[in-house]
């Protein structure tokens, strides 16, 4: 549990002329689940997009499994083993459910397309349907499944519970706990504090583009001032 898998060092990211990420550093060890928390606009999504090099940092370094990601294209970061489940879920509407999965298959994953359909009967029932015809919960399941079939070594998840009914959120929590038990490293962005602390080992709290607090989730529950100031919970 001690090998560092992802290391983010003092990254500075601009969107247009706005200096959004102002020196963020943290790391995730292999098998660890790290929650990335913060209010709306704190810079959580931009941090994930910086790691994927969709919003390449102007300075600072991101290292994955000892490999410097600077200079890589987004598809190369993905092939290095980082999967990204976006806030929008980003299901391809012109592709069927099955095609959405098949184009993401890479390497020898524990999760074959068939296993996905066995484990997610809702998706199996819609495998030939267009991606545009799914409910929010089904889209989220498909987005996570699409990450899994790519044999990732780490998954970045951007607010997987956002906008979903409580019963669906429970299913997603159960799935993430199952992945954690299987040893998957995850970086989990969440506004749902209870959900995040239930799943994650450690938390990184972002505020206005900087890291404001880092520590064990247990300790964050007791740190009332941090929660009030930077999370509003």
């Amino acid at each position: 549990m001690s090998d560092v898998l992802l290391k983010v060092e003092d990254i500075q990211t601009y969107l247009g002329d706005s200096h959004i990420i102002q020196g963020v550093s943290f790391e995730a060890r292999a098998g660890e689940v790290v929650a990335l928390l913060g209010r709306n606009g704190a810079g959580k999504t931009t941090t994930l997009r910086s790691i994927m090099r969709m919003a390449p940092p102007r300075s600072g370094a991101v290292t994955f499994d000892g490999r410097d990601l600077r200079g890589l294209r987004t598809y190369e970061v993905a092939r290095a083993g980082v999967a990204f489940v976006q806030e929008t879920r980003a299901i391809f509407p012109s592709l069927s459910v099955e095609e959405n999965l098949r184009i993401a298959v890479r390497g020898k994953s524990d999760w074959s397309v068939e296993r996905v359909f066995d484990d997610f009967p809702h998706l199996a029932a819609r495998r030939r349907n267009g991606g545009a015809q799914l409910s929010g919960g089904e889209q989220q399941m498909l987005a996570i499944a699409r990450a899994l079939v790519a044999s990732p070594r780490m998954i970045l998840l951007d607010e997987p519970s956002e906008g979903l009914a409580p019963i669906i959120v429970e299913q997603i929590a159960a799935l993430l706990l199952k992945l954690k038990a299987a040893g998957m490293t995850m970086l989990l962005v969440e506004q749902n504090f209870a959900l995040a602390t239930e799943i994650a080992d450690r938390a990184v709290v972002l505020g206005k583009g900087r890291v404001r607090w880092t520590g064990a989730c247990e300790d964050l529950k007791g740190a009332d001032d941090v929660r009030r100031t930077w999370l509003g919970v």
């Binding site: 987004t74 598809y75 993905a78 509407p93 012109s94």
Partner: protein, 293 residues
């Protein structure tokens, strides 16, 4: 209208629609994937027509020209893209239009230097010479061949886009290029393949058009304007849009010339205006383009 004359004009329309389609599909999908408006697509069409002329001049058959010229034109088009056109990939449509219009002029002048100003002809293979009887109308065999080839290619492209892995990658890239990259898909590579196929089809269009319309400097400009209208009317980034747009403009062009000989383009602009009023993003655009704007 005399029914035989009508049938003849319907066949003429179909034949012209197929040529428009061969150019429109490449222009449309290249735009869908990379937001690149490549007007030099017409130059590839013209280049292939001239290459076909050279092949037949050198003693090669029409079939050899049909085999070789589109491949050569496609390779040259791809080279041109990476050597020059790619530089304005991120610079927006105005820069792309200006650069590719420049390429149109340069291409025309270069071909003029090599081949001269006079129109050239390419003759059709012996067994496609003359006419055959279609429901009582004597119709040129070669034009029927164009219709058959166009229909066959529409079928092939449908299977390629809707039923293969490459097709799924293309549709994913048109939907959302960034997300496709997050799944490990090298969209630049998919694009190179799409560009090459699109240029190949434009080249095929040039070879096939040569015996009907002749080969002359500027043959690209007249057709690329119609192809742009096809893509606007049909909708960007989709096979269905390219097919429907080609048919509408092919028929509007042919029947416009018959019904309103003095205002031949009128019918085309009427179709375009109606389409834009009722469907501003075209009749069957790819999903990403289906909202206005």
């Amino acid at each position: 209208m005399d029914p035989n004359f009508l049938l003849e004009q319907v066949l003429n329309s179909l034949q012209f629609s197929m040529l428009l389609f061969l150019l429109a599909i490449g222009l449309s999908v290249v735009f869908g994937l990379m937001d690149y408006l490549n007007l030099a697509h017409g130059t590839v069409y013209m280049l292939a027509a001239y290459l076909a002329f050279s092949v037949t001049q050198a003693g090669g058959s029409f079939w050899m020209a049909l085999l070789l010229a589109p491949i050569a034109a496609s390779a040259i088009g791809l080279l041109l893209y990476y050597a020059l056109l790619k530089r304005v990939e991120q610079q927006g449509h105005l820069a792309q239009v200006l650069l590719t219009v420049g390429v149109i002029y340069m291409g025309t002048d270069l071909l003029r230097i090599v081949y001269g100003d006079l129109p050239k002809g390419v003759s059709v293979p012996a067994f496609l010479e003359g006419a055959t009887n279609v429901l009582g109308v004597a119709y040129p065999k070669y034009r029927l061949f164009i219709i058959a080839l166009g229909l066959a290619l529409m079928g092939v492209l449908y299977v390629l886009l809707e039923r293969t892995r490459l097709g799924a990658l293309v549709r994913a890239g048109v939907d959302d290029r960034d997300t496709a990259e997050t799944l490990g898909i090298d969209i630049a590579k998919v694009f190179a393949l799409v560009f090459a196929i699109g240029a190949y089809l434009a080249g095929l269009g040039g070879v096939v058009a040569a015996p009907v319309f002749g080969v002359y400097p500027g043959m690209d400009v007249s057709v690329i304007i119609l192809v742009l209208i096809v893509v606007v009317v049909g909708g960007l980034g989709s096979l269905g849009g390219a097919i429907l747009g080609s048919l509408l403009i092919g028929f509007a062009d042919t029947f416009g010339k018959i019904l309103l000989p003095q205002f031949a383009m009128m019918m085309i602009y009427l179709v375009m205006a109606l389409a834009l009023i009722f469907r501003p993003s075209g009749l069957l655009p790819a999903r990403r383009f289906s909202q206005a704007g």
